[in-house]
């Protein structure tokens, strides 16, 4: 009895601490925010709104990339450590295709005035398809016959990522390059709230993120393949015993998951830039998102992406100016809080 009571008290204290840790940043941003360049949200709603939108749009891109990672993991228990390399590969492929379509753009790159909508969309789709193919190839060549040995599979994907990263460095060099947005996207829109003029490209990212989320959700919940995937997540052997070709399902999931990394790379390369090291950052982002949200869960990827996007953007904007550099710590704090409360992530379930 007493032990039960004491564990209950401990849990209550834990929850209290958690509430403080969560509430303090909210109060700080809304009412205090001293020493920051913006000031508290109540007196500066415009910058608050922009930071909020930045966080949500960043989350949309995190989600696109991490959903591919989590799809593969959920079904096959494969941690695809080459996901970041696939992201970068997708970006570089789209860059090549775009420059070929538009012509020129050598040293300084293209300006968005030169680029039409199709000259962005086609590279996006082509890069996604090619990277999906590369992922499928990796799965069929190296992973398929190592099923169930999750550490070995993770090591294999690490080996592939080392080779890919080095080859990309050889072909594309160390200088940052970026894919150009089409001219239709390169504008500001008036949101008619506190007079905020917001970059349209970020809204495009948000729309793509939502569209991909909705498409994945419909695919998983409403189609036969999706049903098999969900069943496979719960019990692969049983699905296989029912006479369903689970290997085909694995292949499809790997294709789609890798294609999402490639697509993310094109968006990321348009939004920021492509350079060696970007692959590591995006592997980190994907890992953090799925560790927070729970491995293998699409909803978890969405929640994880949102938490990471908001945390990084608010930390960068609302830390006192002298301490802005410390914003990386908040990613760690977010991860630490989630792991302390739910070691398998917010929506994580034991395998």
């Amino acid at each position: 009895m007493t032990e039960l009571a004491s564990s209950r008290t401990a849990r209550r204290i834990g929850r209290g601490l958690l509430a403080i840790v969560v509430a303090f940043p909210v109060i700080w941003v809304l009412f205090i925010a001293s020493g920051t360049s913006f000031g508290p949200a109540v007196s500066d709603p415009k910058d608050f709104l922009i930071t909020l939108l930045n966080g949500i749009t960043a989350a949309a891109l995190y989600f696109v990339v991490a959903s591919g990672f989590t799809l593969i993991f959920g079904l096959m228990r494969v941690v695809n450590m080459a996901h970041g390399a696939f992201f970068l590969l997708g970006g570089y492929i789209a860059l090549d295709i775009q420059r070929n379509m538009v012509g020129g753009g050598g040293g300084l790159g293209l300006s968005s005035a030169q680029v039409g909508l199709s000259q962005w969309l086609l590279p996006l789709l082509a890069a996604a398809a090619i990277v999906g193919g590369v992922g499928l190839l990796m799965q069929q060549l190296f992973l398929r016959w190592n099923q169930g040995q999750d550490l070995r599979q993770a090591l294999i994907t690490i080996a592939v990522s080392i080779i890919l990263a080095d080859q990309m460095l050889a072909h594309y060099g160390g200088i940052a390059k970026d894919i150009s947005w089409p001219r239709t996207f390169d504008k500001f829109v008036n949101l008619h709230v506190s007079g905020v003029q917001y970059t349209f490209t970020r809204l495009v990212i948000l729309i793509i993120g939502i569209a991909i989320g909705a498409a994945l959700w419909l695919w998983l919940k409403r189609t036969r393949t999706g049903m098999v995937i969900r069943a496979g997540v719960d019990d692969r052997d049983m699905v296989s015993a029912m006479g369903i070709n689970i290997q085909l399902t694995f292949a499809i999931a790997f294709l789609v998951g890798s294609a999402l990394a490639g697509m993310g790379g094109v968006i990321g390369g348009s939004f920021a830039s492509l350079a060696p090291g970007v692959d590591a950052n995006w592997l980190l982002n994907s890992l953090v998102v799925v560790i927070i949200g729970g491995m293998g869960s699409l909803g978890g990827a969405a929640i994880g992406a949102l938490l990471l996007g908001l945390t990084t953007n608010f930390a960068a904007a609302y830390l006192p100016s002298d301490y802005t550099f410390y914003s990386i710590i908040f990613t760690f704090v977010l991860l630490a809080i989630v792991l302390a409360v739910r070691p398998l992530g917010i929506f994580g379930r034991p395998a």
Binding site: A159, A170, G277, Y326
Partner: protein, 338 residues
């Protein structure tokens, strides 16, 4: 004396006599590097072989020790805090900081198993790297340079001294890891590796043991970090990035994730490949493609690394079989509990 021991003895004798046998470049650059990289890889192999935990945070902790030492012992003219301490207290405090961070990391990851553990520790390592890249008051992008080395082991005093000191420390690390594995703590850890649920029902504090093992391995990695900083005289975020993290994993896997000796064997192979591959015309700067291919082949052919190959080559002896059967089942710690 078994064949294993004789071969091991030959390696030790050659290592001790290396300054008499090899050129200064080999001793001061290649072999010293292999020894401290081996120490870091040994900390990884210790966790993997005895605790079933494949940790990618070792390079992060190694970097934290290195950066702490850099901040504490430099005196002006470089980035960082330039506290200008003497070496001895600097080393102690740097090790202490790294061990405390390892304790924190371990406490956060102690309920994660297998690939979850791998991913979480990788995130720790990358965050440590980004931290030093971004926080300009302790380092910033360019890192800390001109970190002093104690006079009695400095290369200016005598070219071989740092090598011999590193060799002695590597020997101590090896013995310490072997010893800890045989203590009641180490045996409990191996029990947890094989079956955490049963150990927990037997009344062992599973999470605590895993945390302490991680902290201890963190200390070993930190020792490697100190030696690295003394050898290199500088440390930058790029030297502890994802690339370095993976390099140490590659070393451990090439050597063999299931045996401590593999750490130094893997490190030697890695360092030699790194150094001599660029002289081969078709490889040139593409060292990482080569190492990636070597890594891929090793993982596909012999997941227990060169040590595993060696044991298989010297006839199917019980030890080799044990490593293989452990793999077939997937080392127990690699399964999520429950």
């Amino acid at each position: 004396m078994t064949l294993d021991r004789s071969v091991g003895l030959v390696f030790v004798v050659v290592a001790v006599l290396a300054p008499l046998i090899f050129s200064d470049y080999w001793v001061a650059t290649l072999l010293t590097q292999a020894l401290f990289l081996g120490i870091v890889a040994a900390s990884l192999i210790f966790l993997s072989a005895y605790g079933g935990m494949v940790s990618l945070a070792q390079v992060g902790i190694y970097g934290i020790a290195g950066f702490a030492l850099g901040n504490l012992t430099t005196n002006g003219n470089t980035k960082g805090l330039n506290l200008g301490w003497a070496e001895a207290p600097g080393v102690l405090v740097a090790l202490l900081i790294a061990v405390l961070v390892a304790l924190l990391f371990g406490a956060l990851a102690n309920r994660s198993y297998g690939i979850y553990f791998l991913m979480i520790t990788l995130v720790f390592s990358v965050i440590a790297n980004l931290f030093f890249g971004q926080v300009t008051s302790v380092s910033g992008f360019g890192g800390i340079s001109g970190i002093p080395i104690p006079d009695f082991i400095s290369r200016t005093a005598h070219p071989d001294r740092l090598y011999l000191a590193t060799l002695a420390i590597a020997g101590l690390v090896y013995l310490a890891l072997r010893y800890v594995a045989r203590t009641p703590f180490g045996l409990t850890l191996q029990g947890i590796r094989d079956d955490p649920v049963r150990m927990s029902s037997l009344g062992y504090k599973v999470a605590l043991h895993r945390t302490l093992a991680f902290t201890f391995a963190g200390f070993i990695a930190a020792v490697g970090g100190i030696l690295f900083v003394w050898w290199n005289a500088q440390i930058a975020p790029s030297t502890i990035g994802l690339g370095a993290t993976i390099d140490v994993l590659v070393i451990a896997v090439i050597g063999g994730l299931f045996q401590l000796e593999g750490a130094w064997l893997g490190a030697l192979v890695f360092v030699l490949l790194n150094n001599y591959a660029q002289d081969v015309s078709f490889i040139g700067d593409r060292f990482h493609t080569l190492i990636g291919l070597v890594f891929l082949v090793i993982v596909l052919v012999s997941p227990s690394g060169l040590m595993g190959l060696w044991q298989r080559a010297v006839a199917g002896r019980p030890r080799a079989e044990r490593a293989d059967s452990a793999e077939a089942a997937g080392p127990a710690g690699l399964k999520p509990a429950g």
